[in-house]
Each structure stands twice: as C-alpha cells, then as structure tokens.
C-alpha cells in the first residue's frame, strides 16, 4: 500500500520513520532499531553483543544512547529500542559518555589485560572501544577472576573464559543461526560462563563463525592461534570455492602464507557466515605435500622435471593420441578452477576437436537442469514452498543450509523434503516425503496430489532445490521426480545444486560433453574399453570421487597416457605419466560461478608454490606446444574473450561487477522438463537398499591435507534403522559383511534413527573401509545384504 501525501504529492513510504541522530535527520524503517539506523550514518554507537544478522538481546549494555522523551532525556539501549517517528537520539552527550564509560569499566573489571599475547589484540572490538569510548583508567584494584586458560571446546575452537564478556554472540549464533545449541551459558549468576555439556564437544559445522564474531579473544581457532598479528596481515576479498555456494570471504596472509579466512557479509549469499570446511581448508594450500615442479613418469617413478620437458611430453602424448583418432583424447574435471581456467581448457579442446569432456564426475545431474527456470538463493528463501530433492544441504552445501533453515525458522517458507534419509533440514521441514531409492518419482507424484499439498503449492512461488542425493542410484530417478514437481507446480523455479565449487561455471565455459558425446561415465567406459589413449585430469580425482571405483580402475589400466593437472599427488595421479603442478586457491585470480549462477571474483593473495601455475596458463602454453595457439596473453585478455564468447558470462563484462555481490549469469528462456515415470525394481525383503551420500568431513584432498580438519574425518560405517539392526541380529558397533552382486566388504554397523527402514546409509569416502566396490554404476539402485560375521 502506498500513501500519497496530498501536499507534497509524492509517494510516501508507509514504513518510513524520520528520526534525528545527533541533530542530523535519518530515514529509518518501521521496526528498525536505533543502532541499525545509526549504522547508516557516521555516528558509531559502540557495541559488543549486537549483531545485525542475529536477534538483539541487550546483553552488554554498551550501546547506551540518549533519547528525548516527554520526561526529558533518557538513557536507552539502542540495540533494543525501535525507532519511532520524530525520535531525537543523541550519542555523544556527556551523560551518554558517562554511561558508556561506566559499562566499559565494568566489562574491563574482570577482563584480563593480556592483549600483548592475545590473538585478538589489534583487531579487538573491546580493545578498540576501550580506547574510543572507555574511561581510560580503571579503579578496579582487586584480584580478577581466574579460570583455566584456554580449554578446547571442540577439535577446532578454544575457549578462554577469563576473556569472555558474556555477550551471548557465540551461544546465540550456535542456537539461532546454526541450530547446534552445543554451547550455552552455564552456572548463570556470579559465575556465568560459556561451556559445552561436559564431554560433549562443540562439534558444529559452523563453529568457526563464533570465533569470527567473538568481540574479544575468548574464542580462538586452532589454525590461526599464534600464527600472525592482525597488523601483519595482508588481505583481499575473494570467493570460497570449497563447494558451489560461493561464500564471500576475505583471504588473509602473512609472510606469503595463507593464515585465515573470514566471512564477508553479502546479502545474496552467505550473510557473513562460512562453514568450517571452507574456513579452514586453506591449510591444504600451505601443505608440504604441494607439488612444486612438474613430474614425468620415468617408468619406475614420478621424477621432477622442467616445465618445458613436461609440456613437450604432454603435447607429444596428446598429438600421438589425436593422430590415431580425435575421440581418443578426453578431459575430466575443471570444476575446481576458475571460469577462466575452464574456458582456456575448453578453447584448447575446441581447437583440438576434443568433444569428450566433463567437469562432473558421474555424481551430478545432466546440465539440462540449468535450462529450466532458475531460482537464486534469495528467491529460494523467499518462496512460499521449498521442495528439497537434494543431497543433505547441511553436509554438502552448509551455508545454503543456513539460509534455507533461516527461511523456515522465520516462517517465510515451508519446506517439503523429499528424501530417502533424514537430513539436517528434516527437523525444519513442514512435511517430509520418504521414499525408497528408485521410487522417488512415484513418491513425489503421490505426495503432491494430496489436497493439503496442492493447497500449499498454490500459495505462492515454489522453488525446488535439486541435486544428487544418492550416489548409489541412477540420476534419471531424480530427474523424473523433478519432472513430477513440474507437473504439480508448473511455475516452479529450480535451484540446481551440483557438486564442486565452480561446476556451473565450468559447464557454462564449455567443459561439458560436446556434440552429443558422452558424460564422465561414458568417457570412463570408453577408456575401460580401450578407446581412450590419452586422459587429461583437470584437478579431478576420479579414483576418490567417481562412485564406481571399479570402473575407474579398469579405465586407468587401459588408458595409454594419463595426464594430471593438480596441486597434490592423489589416488588418481599417483601412476600418471605426467603431473603438472597447478596453482591453488589463493594463488590465482579469476572469476567463479556459484550454484545460482552468480559470477564473482577469486583473488590471488600469495605466490604460487614452487613453479606451479594456474590451469589457464598451462592450457595456453600447451596450446602453443601443440601448435594451436589459443591466443591468450593475460588473464584480462582471457576474461574478455570469455565474456565475449559465452553469452552466459556477458553480464560480468566489467571486472568490478564481479566484486562484492557479484553478477548473475545471463539466463536463457527457460525450457520445461518432462519425463516418463519409471520405478526401480522392488527390493527383495531380505535386502536393504543403499543410500550413499557425502558428509562434510570426508577424504576430500583439501580436508585430508588440512591438519586441523583431517582429525575430524570419521571411519566408514554402515548405518541402519534400529529396527533393521534388531532384525539383522547384531549389536551396534560390530563388524558385518555387506554384500552386493558378488562383491562384499566388512564394515562396522551402527544404528541411526534418521535412516528409514529398508534402507542402509553409507557415507561416501571415509577413512578405513573402502565402500565403493559395492557401487556399480550400471545398476539403477544397489541392494545389499547384511550378514553377521560368524
């Protein structure tokens, strides 16, 4: 509703509230807090507990200001007082100063003055505000309180209770934002302190955020403790590419080594939050295992060599293979690099006529999902209904989980979860539709035809979050279920969630099957049949990432020449013929594209290790060696070629536009999806149907080579419903034999209430037992028989 002011004849915003702060008029919005309105002016109100992304609690009382009332000026807490029309606020009067100084003196009464040895010193809100708003001197001569110096409250986070000022930021974050209320105020009263439950660690996937928002040095994180002083840090804004959410970060380095990531608050994506994996896996960039020189296989070992030799060898291998047949060269990977990396390789592939390329590794969805009507993260979280047909967002796309959870918590959206297993969002789902893998299309059709569901879908915008939730299942089942959603809600928008940081950018840049050639699995099948002479791995580790390890094994034995461009040695390139060292995250610039198609910049902060180079540079040099120069002279040059050649990237023509919020890809006219409904064969009642999915901490290269995270990876186990456990007749924690189609593995069994009856859940890629022998990519679903070991 708009109200037209008859005198001014202009449209007046009904939510506009005019207030005055220190004599200057400020336009505020109805319901806004004084401190939030003041943050848009030059008048800074000191604060410790207030955080714009969390509810206000008025805990620290530092933000006292003076407000004119009918009874004269009054001191109020500006983070708890909403604006009202005509309000007069003063933030610098003598009485405000006295009040703020008083609060600070009390906060400092028990705060140890160990700033010289405190990691927060130099960037500490308490230190800064003690200078700017404090009394300058303390009258407190008594003994301060003492607690045991930092105690580890999780594998990553340390808590120093002496420094804590009880602002409630970390506990509020854990409860409100992350939904892991594992830290809380205990012994409230004179001895109030933040603690976990005894012996239950603060094992939240988001624990690093509490360290970032702690206004003092009470919470510190292992990877950064005593690594640098804030005034020694250099920093640059970048985008995290650990997963495809694309959180905005600040990359900080000291002495040419990455030391810390901090979340940057941008509205459309991460709101300042990061997950712990994204925040701390920078350690892998500093890993001593990083490759520093090109390696060439001498027949007995991978030996260091020069770039010129390595490039010449690579070029010869590619030339030989192409001379044989243009279809005997294939490229896998590219989703971990930048858009420019992917485009340079796509250009090279174009020049050489290599059609067989795929940046997904058989664990994603057909790129046709990008041609459907697309939703952004914001549109998803503003939709009346969010249908989840996706992997467990908390495990795979943690910050998207925070956003969707927030939408459900604040009652903006209702979640209909379609899942074969309970996920992190199940407790927040309005309705949960369970199904047995292979039967989801039918389940979606049945569920969405219930009157209650129909009514909900008709309420407003529907967004479906779609991805591969189960690696032991053919992707067609997900696509068919998606088609059923389109039948029930034709105007639905899609948020595709595929794996790996820049998968969307890589596909758009051209690292996707060309001219109707096959996808990664077809490429591996062709290789296994001896049809691929030269296989190029572009930052890809199919041995770890492709669900069917048997297939990869067969493919690799048949391939004549295996070329790997990677940062480290992994299971896939251990026996490669050539390994070219690639520059890692933080060592190269460019742009990346997140799952919603947002193009934002990644920035170089440190020098690449040894002689490693960005992928695009390797492609350029290789093109020269091969005599098909792709004509790239610099990153800017490459970027302008990309923006000019690929319509999707056109909006990012101005390099500045990829900073901050970034720029959304150009969208084409959406098509719709339809599909026949098919069902997997019924399960034999003695068997359990397998659900295989990823968890946050698995054997991903960047996690394994980050010392702080490596210890968190758990051993592989198979999880079944407690009732099924009883039926199998084994005790929790014992080893069982799990068999499928002639293969079997021995693995520990555990019960889990979130696993549905008739199914078994195997987390993918964990330490200990390799579960992949059970996964056969050619079968639609995998049924396993679990037997006790006698």
């Amino acid at each position: 509703m708009t109200i037209v002011d008859p005198i001014k004849e202009s449209v007046v915003d009904p939510n506009l509230v005019n207030i005055t702060i220190n004599g200057k008029p400020v336009a505020a919005r109805k319901g806004e807090l004084i401190i939030a309105a003041a943050d848009r002016t030059d008048d800074f109100i000191p604060r410790f507990c207030y955080h714009p992304r969390m509810s206000s609690v008025g805990m620290c009382r530092q933000c006292l200001v003076e407000v004119e009332t009918p009874r004269g000026p009054m001191i109020v807490v500006s983070c708890m007082t909403p604006v009202v029309e005509g309000q007069i606020v003063r933030t610098t009067t003598d009485s405000v100063k006295k009040a703020q100084e008083g609060v600070l003196e009390l906060l400092l009464a028990n705060h140890p003055l160990d700033c010289p040895v405190c990691d927060k010193g130099g960037e500490c809100p308490l230190q800064d505000q003690a200078f700017s708003h404090g009394p300058g001197e303390s009258r407190f001569v008594e003994e301060k309180r003492h607690y045991e110096k930092p105690i580890a409250i999780s594998d990553i986070v340390y808590l120093d209770r002496e420094r804590c000022i009880l602002c409630d930021r970390c506990t509020r974050f854990a409860d409100e934002v992350a939904g892991d209320a594992l830290i809380t105020f205990t012994s409230r009263g004179n001895d109030t302190q933040v603690l976990t439950f005894p012996d239950e660690p603060f094992s939240s996937y988001f624990s690093g955020n509490t360290v970032q928002i702690c206004p003092v040095g009470a919470l510190t994180a292992k990877p950064y403790r005593f690594k640098a002083r804030p005034w020694d840090l250099e920093q640059t804004e970048s985008t995290c590419t650990s997963c495809s959410v694309g959180c905005r970060t600040v990359v900080q380095s000291s002495r040419d080594e990455l030391v810390r990531y901090q979340g940057v608050d941008i509205d459309p994506v991460n709101w300042g939050w990061l997950c712990d994996r994204g925040r701390y896996n920078f350690e892998s960039v500093n890993s001593p295992d990083r490759l520093t020189t090109p390696l060439v296989n001498t027949g007995t070992e991978l030996a260091a060599t020069s770039w010129s030799v390595a490039l010449e060898t690579t070029a010869r291998m590619i030339r030989l293979a192409l001379a044989n047949n243009k279809n005997s060269v294939a490229i896998l990977g590219g989703a971990r690099g930048t858009n420019e990396d992917a485009f340079a390789w796509a250009m090279l592939a174009d020049k050489l006529g290599i059609d067989q390329r795929d940046s997904q590794l058989g664990d994603g969805l057909s790129p046709e999902v990008f041609n459907l009507a697309q939703a952004t993260i914001d549109e998803t979280c503003a939709a009346s209904t969010i249908i989840l047909l996706a992997p467990d967002l908390k495990e795979e796309l943690p910050v998207l989980y925070l956003r969707v959870r927030d939408a459900a918590q604040k009652r903006k959206s209702r979640i209909i979860e379609v899942s074969a297993r309970d996920s992190g969002l199940t407790p927040h789902a309005w309705r949960t539709v369970g199904f047995e893998p292979g039967h989801q299309a039918q389940a979606v059709r049945d569920a969405l035809s219930i009157p209650e569901m129909k009514e909900q879908l008709a309420r407003g915008q529907v967004v479906v979050v779609v991805g591969r939730h189960n690696l032991a299942e053919n992707e067609m089942f997900t696509l068919q279920a998606l088609a059923e959603v389109f039948v029930a809600a034709p105007s639905v928008k899609v948020l595709p969630v595929l794996r790996r940081g820049n998968v969307r950018g890589a596909i758009a840049a051209g690292l996707t099957p060309q001219n109707n050639s096959g996808d990664a699995i077809d490429i591996l099948n062709a290789a296994a049949a001896g049809k691929i002479d030269c296989l190029i791995l572009l930052g890809a580790d199919p041995m770890s990432d492709v669900p069917d390890s048997g297939l990869v094994q067969r493919a690799f034995t048949q391939v004549k020449n295996l070329i790997s461009i990677d940062t480290m040695i992994n299971d896939s390139n251990r026996n490669a013929d050539v390994v070219l060292p690639a520059a890692a995250y933080g060592e190269k610039s460019g742009t990346t594209t997140n799952l919603e198609g947002r193009i934002s910049n990644v920035a170089q902060k440190i020098t690449p290790r040894g002689t490693s180079r960005p992928d695009w540079m390797i492609a350029t040099e290789l093109s020269i060696s091969l005599g098909v120069d792709i004509g790239v002279s610099s990153l800017e040059d490459l970027n302008s070629k990309l923006v000019g050649a690929v319509a999707a990237f056109a909006p990012s023509i101005d390099a500045k536009s990829t900073h901050g919020d970034g720029m959304l890809m150009a969208r084409e006219t959406p098509v719709t999806i339809s599909g026949d409904l098919s069902k997997a064969i019924d399960r034999n009642a003695y068997n359990l149907r397998l659900v295989v999915s990823r968890t946050m901490y698995d054997l991903a290269g960047s996690t394994v080579s980050s010392p702080s995270l490596a210890g968190i990876i758990t051993d592989a186990a198979i999880f079944v419903n407690p009732l099924d456990l009883g039926r199998i007749g084994v005790a929790e924690g014992t080893n069982v034999r799990v068999g499928a189609e002639g293969t079997n593995i021995v693995i520990m069994i555990k019960s889990h209430n979130g696993v549905h009856r008739g199914t078994a859940w195997l987390p993918f890629n964990h330490t200990g037992v390799d579960i992949r022998p059970l996964l056969n990519i050619s079968s639609d679903v995998v049924d396993v028989r679990i037997e006790p070991i006698k």
Partner: protein, 204 residues
C-alpha cells in the same frame, strides 16, 4: 541407571503434555530426575534433552542456574546451616564446627556412608528463629548443639523418615493434574483460543 526409569519416563511425558512447548517442562523434569537419583546425573540431563527436544548443553545451562539442583552425589540428608548475620550472631559458626566434628566431615563434604552432606547456606529467612538449619530444605529452628546431635542420631536411626524424605524428594504425594488440563504440544503462536477447561473465563 541414571536416566529416568520407566515410571518416571511416563510421568515425564505427562508433565511435558501440560505445556505448549515441551522445553517448558524442563524444571519439573529436573526435579523428577533429582528425586529418582538424589542428584542430577549427566545421563539424566541427556535423557531430559531427548525428551523435550533440546541439546544436553541447554539442559545443563538451565539446571546449573539453580542452587538446589546438585551435580555431584549428595547424602541422603542435606544439612544446610545458615551462616548469615542473625544466625551468625546467635552461634551458627559454633553450630557448624560442632556439626563438622559430629559428622567427621568439613562443610561441603559428604559422610562416607552417604547419609549426610553438610553445607553452608545463606539466609534462610527465619531470622527471628536463629540459628536455623534445614534438612533437605525442611526447617529446624533455634538449633542448639544438643538439638543437632539428637537430630543427626535420629536421622541415622531412621526415626525421622516421615518428616524428612530423602534428598531430591519434593513432596510426599505426587501431584496429579487432570488429563484435560494438558495443553498438549502446540506452537504458542498457533494457539488462538483458550483451552476447553478455561471455558472462556480468561483469554490466553
């Protein structure tokens, strides 16, 4: 076993049903578990968290606010001797020393037979009757050292079991709330009419 036993789990579910939000039942449930075990065990807190749908840390945070919830085993009889001004003037310190000698433990300690825990207490709000003490929060007034000796002997001989139930027991008779008074789990924001038993007499 220090999770709630079967009977108490059943009572717990009844108590939870009285509140629109399950976690509102936490304090009564903590009492229930203290009544069962004599103190609040870790397993009990984890169990309560499961019952009302909060983390064990949240149960712990709530429970530790309250002085009367104990997290270490206490004796069957908790003797709190007031040490605040009126009682101190009337000989509370001497009384405490006497009790320490009699029981063979220092203030804050528990006798090896698990019968008694001796503790200092702040004002028990009976200054006119100083010095005072409480056994499991039940008063004894104008206590002399001889009174204390008799009290301890009688407690040990189980002669006062009707007056002083073991630590943790709140009431000798369990309160029963009619089932129709149970609000049942509801999101308070979804509640827009009064429960039936209120019969429109009061608005929510």
């Amino acid at each position: 076993m220090s999770r709630l036993n079967e009977t108490n789990t059943k009572s717990a579910r009844e108590i939870i049903a009285r509140y629109p939000r399950p976690k509102s039942a936490l304090i009564p449930l903590l009492h229930l578990s203290q009544e069962q075990n004599g103190y609040i065990t870790r397993e009990a807190m984890q169990h309560l968290g499961e019952l009302v749908g909060v983390t064990s840390a949240e149960v712990y945070g709530t429970a530790t606010f309250y002085e009367m919830f104990k997290f270490e085993p206490v004796g069957k009889y908790l003797i709190n001797i007031c040490g605040t001004l009126s009682c101190a003037l009337m000989g509370a310190n001497e009384l405490m020393h006497h009790a320490e000698k009699k029981l063979g433990v220092n203030a804050g300690g528990t006798t090896s037979d698990g019968m008694f825990t001796l503790a200092h207490a702040e004002c028990q709000a009976a200054c006119t009757e100083a010095p005072t003490l409480q056994v499991n929060y039940r008063y004894r007034l104008r206590v002399t050292p001889t009174d204390l000796d008799n009290l301890i002997d009688n407690l040990r001989d189980n002669k006062l079991k009707d007056e002083f139930p073991p630590h943790g027991v709140l009431a000798k008779v369990q309160q029963v709330i009619p089932a129709d008074r149970a609000v049942g789990t509801k999101d308070p924001e979804d509640v827009n009419e009064s429960p039936a038993w209120l019969d429109g007499k009061a608005a929510l």
